[in-house]
Symmetry: C2
């Protein structure tokens, strides 16, 4: 048996002395076909390495069983893949889609505009979309949803988001991080991250909530990052520290990478971590566990996330209107 010989359902029908419909039914295990006939047909199909042509099948069924997944490459690039969380998420989605017998079409980084996605749908290249990270594409996503594309987005939702969003509870994550830092009697807080991203804005708000609800008087500064690679955060941290005589004693960083870069910068200025400064990161990527010192962080479970994203999209494709949902985040304390 080799890949060279193309066989069609008609060929199998002839070889099995039955008609095409019978082969079709036998292979899809239809109850309309006699068990013996089924086995006979299957045996012949197996022998000739026959597999139903998916393209003919998709054409007929008007359903592709294919989900297109688009990563937020734009911020990924600014990140230099330093934070592998989005890939863990992709692995989670991939695994769950496999379980659901759905194919995963990975969208190319360069084709990230609404026309591409509309075209994907109109040409029946995929039944729906999963967007990992909304990044700064919110306008596009909103327009795409209004266009009628079945889609689920990993990110943060607000009241009027016209598409279903699954995301970790950024607000809760911020609250947990804030409470943790407050427990340490810290007074000078610093939030590191670009709050023009909805997810990050949620984390910042959670932090504020925790502070407001404690009856402690603390100061909060913000460092609005414009680039997320380690080197860049390191540089921005240094500029910040140059311009601020009093160093912060509590830092909440929008991701682990930024937390590590900031620690690095502080270290080089003779600051002891975690004695002088308490730090919380976000995502629980592997290096946080072995950074010196290990970093406390907010954890989101990529497999569970993938599960939920896929489940919601399947609901949507079945004609329902799934509700946005938030996955509980948990604080991982790694005090040394």
């Amino acid at each position: 048996m080799s890949a060279k010989q193309p066989v069609t359902m008609g060929d199998i029908a002839r070889l099995a002395n039955v008609s095409k419909p019978t082969v079709s039914r036998a292979l899809s295990d239809s109850p309309l076909v006699n068990e013996e006939t089924k086995e006979h047909v299957r045996a012949i199909a197996r022998k000739h390495g026959y597999a139903v042509n998916r393209n003919a099948q998709k054409l007929r069924h008007k359903r592709t069983n294919t989900i297109a997944v688009s990563l937020d490459y734009q911020s990924l690039r600014r990140n230099h893949v330093a934070d592998p969380f989005i890939f863990e998420l992709l692995a989670g989605v991939s695994e769950v889609l496999g379980e659901e017998n759905q194919d995963l079409l990975l969208c190319a980084p360069s084709h990230n505009n609404i026309e591409t996605f509309q075209h994907m749908l109109a040409s029946r290249g995929a039944d729906g979309f999963i967007f990992l990270g909304q990044g700064h594409r919110e306008d596009m996503l909103e327009a795409l949803a209004k266009y009628g594309a079945p889609m689920i987005v990993w990110g943060a939702s607000s009241e009027d988001t016209p598409y279903c969003v699954v995301g970790s509870d950024n607000f809760l994550g911020g609250v947990l991080a804030g409470q943790y830092l407050l427990q340490h009697q810290r007074k000078n807080f610093l939030f590191v991250g670009d709050t023009t991203f909805k997810e990050i804005y949620g984390r910042r708000n959670g932090l504020q909530k925790a502070i407001d609800e404690s009856n402690q008087t603390v100061e909060v500064k913000d460092l609005a990052l414009n680039n997320f690679s380690y080197e860049s955060v390191f540089e921005q941290a240094n500029i910040f520290l140059d311009n601020n005589k009093t160093y912060p004693d509590a830092i909440f960083a929008f991701n682990d990478n930024a937390a590590m870069a900031f620690i690095h910068a502080l270290r080089l200025r003779g600051v002891s971590i975690p004695e002088d400064v308490s730090i919380v990161g976000y995502n629980d990527i592997a290096p946080t566990r072995y950074f010196n010192p290990p970093i406390s962080t907010v954890r989101q479970d990529p497999y569970q996330a993938g599960k939920l994203l896929v489940k919601k999209l399947m609901e949507k494709l079945d004609g329902n209107t799934p509700e946005s949902e938030v996955i509980k985040t948990e604080l991982i304390v790694r005090e040394t």
Copy 2:
């Protein structure tokens, strides 16, 4: 214009007062059609949000313009995505496939057997495969190649590999690492990695070559890892150090993650890095740059790798027989 209205080529033909073939030709910019007619047809197609049904197209063309990409999930799992290199590679491949107008089908982790791949081909779900990391699937890959599957593998090749392999020059990487370590007058070498992986075996051989060609007398030990997650390497490092009174003074680790874990273990035993021990990792992942101390490593360029993988596969699909090729590796020295 919304996603709801399915339009076929026949509809566009009617609306444009031409026949289906003319629409087909106009949309594929065939020279057979008058320019004005083309523009007229295109305008109507655009107006109605029409896009050619890819499934009908694939069925007719007998070519899918889809490449299935399979990651080495098995070792990925043992790795806990600690080493993001394989994802950088995936991003590279994704980018280049996009440029080539090829769709990227990401294979599910659980479906990693020859039957799945044969089925993918026979059912015309993809034209060919790119395997990222051969891992321990060599027998399967060999059988798949003999079956006739168009495929390119990222990994290491040997004389008789029956498929085209693109990979970084592991041997050269090993030589470079060895020479670097020898320059530091080190005497007790340790290689950390599982040499049953071809790629890693190549690195080990390169190290040996460098040692043999120097006229220095040095000892080389091997630590055969069985699990690659940071925690596990850390543990295995500790066991090794417990059992060896003389600590190594030169370490070449099969990847950066293992290098970092080993440094971690040594540090906790009071060993100074890089004073007492010189270390070289592999892959140049982001954390090596900001680890304390920064780690020298062997770099492979993921975009260039993706470019070459895709180019070779396209050659193969055009009926040629591309040669295996090796990408130069370079040593990144990060001495502090």
